[in-house]
């Protein structure tokens, strides 16, 4: 009996709990179509001769029930082209010849439509005589009324390595686009063989941050050759490849034969070390070009005995980043027993440490070097890109900026470029930097750390050319302001950092305090007498 009860217990315990379920049925439908159906038949609208060698065609669009493919153009019943467009320029034709055209459509399954209607037309006769190129100036002066092509609009979009040209003309023309790093336009060319009033093309693989010259020539069906445009553009700079910023406020004080150097570190998170190199002959142009007088993360060093055997010493302070990048260099030079500027320039910017002519003392001239002009001097700060020809240069005082000059804009033989920045709050002081060729070899660059001072400054660019012994000097006013600052979180540092009191100031304060004390003593004495 016990066994029976125990068996019942087990059975009941392990009986599954059964439940009820609910269902919902539905259908899923998909349609597989018969795509053996061809596209609709296009209608050939026009066949227009535009030159002695070209006929332009246009037709209506076809449709397909699944996947449209394109069109096949027939000339005299022979397929000559395949296109997805609804127009075609048939070129390289024989003058004064009758041609017949048809079009049919096809889908991606290669079902083909029936052939369109046929249109026939004759190419134009050969123009009488070729015309020599006509300058853009004559067109601009509206003296080109007899010409058959004129530039209507032109849009050139420039990136770091590409220039996209998009232009329209009054009248149809073929074109030739030539470009180059000089006005010889000898770097490349594009010839179109299609007469059209709308053109678009691009030049690729350009050198970043480089000045290019270009020329667009139009060739009309009548044989005229017209210079539509001659201009230049500068490719954009690759923004992420700037060198590290230099040290700020690199200064020197001479004490007999010793030189006390001081500087401020740039606000660079991955700064590894500051290396200061000296050279008695010229500014050290790299970290190995002279004697290393300091290497560390301090802000001053005494170069003892520097002027013991040399009367002049040139210093360059380099910032080395953790990535191994080296700044262009902040520069200064000193002379023995001479704590004042080597030469006074017209802008009164000189102070100890001001860059002067270290390569031979040539007379400074404001001249144009080769094809170089002030437009080649770029001032870059994030989204802002100025040149020395910009109306005004307004930079954020809290951000670093880069001076950049396209490499190709200057002769390739040895040269040095120094930029000098006046202190915005004290124009008697200035700080100089070397421009160094960047990693890509495309530009001379120097990055200057944020000044953190508001005010108006001036930037001077001096170009020293050893071979031609010429010096180019360019000056431009720069305004450091709070542009881009939504909220200025901290007060800008105002130069000078220390407030200096004169003896006169101290005497006045002592006199006032003494008078108050004397007055108090007399009052007390008077009150005692009264009591």
């Amino acid at each position: 009996m016990i066994k029976g009860i125990f068996f019942l217990f087990l059975i009941s315990f392990f009986l599954p709990m059964s439940t009820f379920a609910v269902d919902s049925d539905f259908t899923i439908k998909t349609v597989v179509g018969d795509d053996s159906v061809p596209p609709t038949t296009p209608t050939l609208f026009s066949a227009v001769p535009v030159a002695d060698s070209q006929i332009d065609l246009a037709w209506s669009a076809s449709t397909d029930n699944f996947s449209f493919g394109g069109y096949v153009v027939l000339r005299d019943s022979v397929a000559i082209a395949t296109t997805t467009l609804t127009s075609f320029n048939d070129v390289d034709l024989t003058p004064e010849t009758l041609y017949s055209y048809e079009v049919y459509a096809f889908d991606s399954n290669l079902n083909i439509s029936t052939t369109s209607n046929s249109l026939a037309t004759t190419t134009l006769p050969v123009p009488p005589e070729p015309v020599t190129p006509i300058s853009t100036e004559s067109l601009d002066n509206n003296k080109a009324s007899t010409q058959t092509v004129r530039l209507k609009s032109l849009d050139v979009k420039i990136t770091t390595d590409e220039a996209v040209f998009d232009w329209e003309t009054y009248g149809v023309a073929k074109y030739t686009l030539r470009w180059g790093l000089t006005s010889e336009y000898n770097d490349g060319y594009i010839n179109s063989n299609i007469y059209s009033s709308s053109h678009k093309t691009s030049i690729n693989e350009l050198i970043p941050n480089s000045l290019y010259f270009y020329e667009i020539i139009g060739h009309t069906p009548s044989g005229a050759t017209v210079v539509l445009k001659q201009d230049q553009f500068t490719t954009a700079i690759e923004m992420n490849d700037f060198p590290p910023p230099n040290v700020l406020r690199f200064r020197a004080e001479v004490e007999k034969n010793d030189v006390l150097l001081s500087w401020q570190l740039p606000n660079l998170t991955d700064i590894k070390v500051v290396r200061i190199v000296s050279n008695p002959y010229s500014y050290p142009t790299d970290i190995y070009d002279g004697e290393v007088v300091y290497e560390g993360l301090g802000v001053s060093v005494m170069d003892r005995g520097s002027l013991l055997s040399d009367d002049t010493m040139y210093y360059t302070a380099f910032v080395l980043s953790e990535k191994g990048e080296v700044s262009s260099g902040a520069v200064l030079f000193v002379k023995k027993d001479y704590n004042l500027p080597v030469e006074e320039s017209s802008n009164q910017i000189n102070d100890q440490g001001t860059a002067a002519a270290p390569f031979g003392g040539e007379e400074k001239k404001e001249i144009s070097l080769y094809n170089f002009d002030a437009n080649n001097i770029n001032i870059l700060q994030e989204k802002y890109n100025f040149t020395f020809l910009s109306d005004s240069i307004n930079l954020s005082y809290r951000k670093s900026f880069t001076i950049s000059i396209p490499y190709e804009s200057l002769p390739r033989h040895l040269k040095s470029i120094i930029v000098t920045l006046l202190d915005p709050t004290d124009n008697r002081r200035s700080y100089s930097f070397l421009l160094k060729i960047n990693k890509q070899g495309t530009a001379y660059e120097a990055t200057i750390a944020p000044l953190n001072v508001l005010g108006t400054s001036r930037l001077e660019v001096e170009i020293f050319d050893f071979e031609s012994q010429l010096i180019g000097l360019y000056k431009k006013q720069i305004i450091f302001s709070a542009i881009d600052d939504v909220k200025v979180e901290q007060q800008a540092v105002v130069f000078p950092d220390k407030i200096l009191y004169t003896t006169k100031d101290i005497l006045i304060v002592v006199a006032i305090v003494g008078s108050i004390i004397l007055l108090l003593l007399l009052t007390i004495r008077f009150m005692r007498k009264g009591s």
Partner: protein, 254 residues
């Protein structure tokens, strides 16, 4: 000796008494069903029972005081001595799915369709939602068929893959209650916590495939969205026509 025998008999009686009581209580707490009936719950009364004779039959009870069911949108009251322990579950009607666009029989392509289902239950243990197809393969047109999608591995494919010669039909569930098999870590399924639309693809089967499991959710219910896709790589021609897959979603209280 007599004392020992008495004690042994007493122990045995007590053990059997508890065993019987426990067995009865367990039995009364369970529900039973067959293909013809289902008992939500049964009871043991202290009085009453079935009395019969050749002329009458009397089902008498004692103990119940008042019974009745009161419901609202947010609660259900089953009043009485022992009201039936009903488990409520419902599944919404699922709209037919028409996939689009049409697929070219020669060029191939991809067609998509979506539907959703809402399951509402007050089952304390929650519910399960399964899906099955009526046919194998699911998508058919007479004797013409389209293969069910087959994932590369044991788990669903994170993306619907159609090679040149493939012509296949699959589904991907999405919702808060989908089971771990349909969750992804953005790169693989059956791993991670994301339930993402158009991720984790599998083919239908005539046997139930568990797609969701959740807890009691009355009255709002839980929605599960089902994405369907047919892919044809263009390398294998498909006979033109309308193809259908008859599908069943089953919600089961736990």
């Amino acid at each position: 000796m007599g004392s020992d025998c008495f004690i042994y008999t007493l122990k045995r009686t007590i053990f059997l008494t508890f065993l019987i009581i426990f067995t009865i209580s367990l039995s009364s707490a369970q529900v039973r069903s067959s293909t013809n009936y289902q008992i939500q719950s049964d009871s043991v009364n202290f009085a009453g029972g079935l009395s019969t004779s050749t002329n009458y039959s009397l089902e008498s009870t004692a103990g119940e005081i008042s019974t009745g069911v009161s419901t609202s949108t947010t609660y259900g009251l089953y009043a009485g001595y022992q009201q039936m322990q009903e488990v409520f579950i419902s599944i919404s009607a699922v709209s037919p799915v028409v996939m689009s666009p049409d697929i070219g029989g020669l060029t191939g392509g991809t067609a998509n369709g979506t539907t959703s289902v809402v399951v509402v239950t007050d089952s304390p243990s929650g519910y399960q939602l399964t899906i099955s197809a009526s046919n194998n393969p699911a998508m058919q047109k007479g004797s013409d068929t389209i293969a069910d999608y087959v994932p590369v591995g044991a788990d669903p494919d994170i993306s619907f893959i159609t090679n040149t010669n493939d012509v296949h039909f699959g589904f991907s569930p999405e919702g808060t209650d989908v089971t771990s098999r349909w969750l992804n870590n953005t790169s693989a399924c059956n791993i991670g916590t994301n339930s993402t639309a158009l991720k984790c693809w599998d083919g239908l089967s005539v046997t139930d495939k568990l797609i969701a499991q959740g807890s009691a959710n009355q009255p709002s219910g839980a929605t599960t969205t089902l994405h369907f896709r047919m892919g044809a790589g263009g390398g294998t021609p498909i006979i033109a026509g309308d193809y259908f897959a008859t599908t069943t979603l089953t919600a089961l209280p736990l």
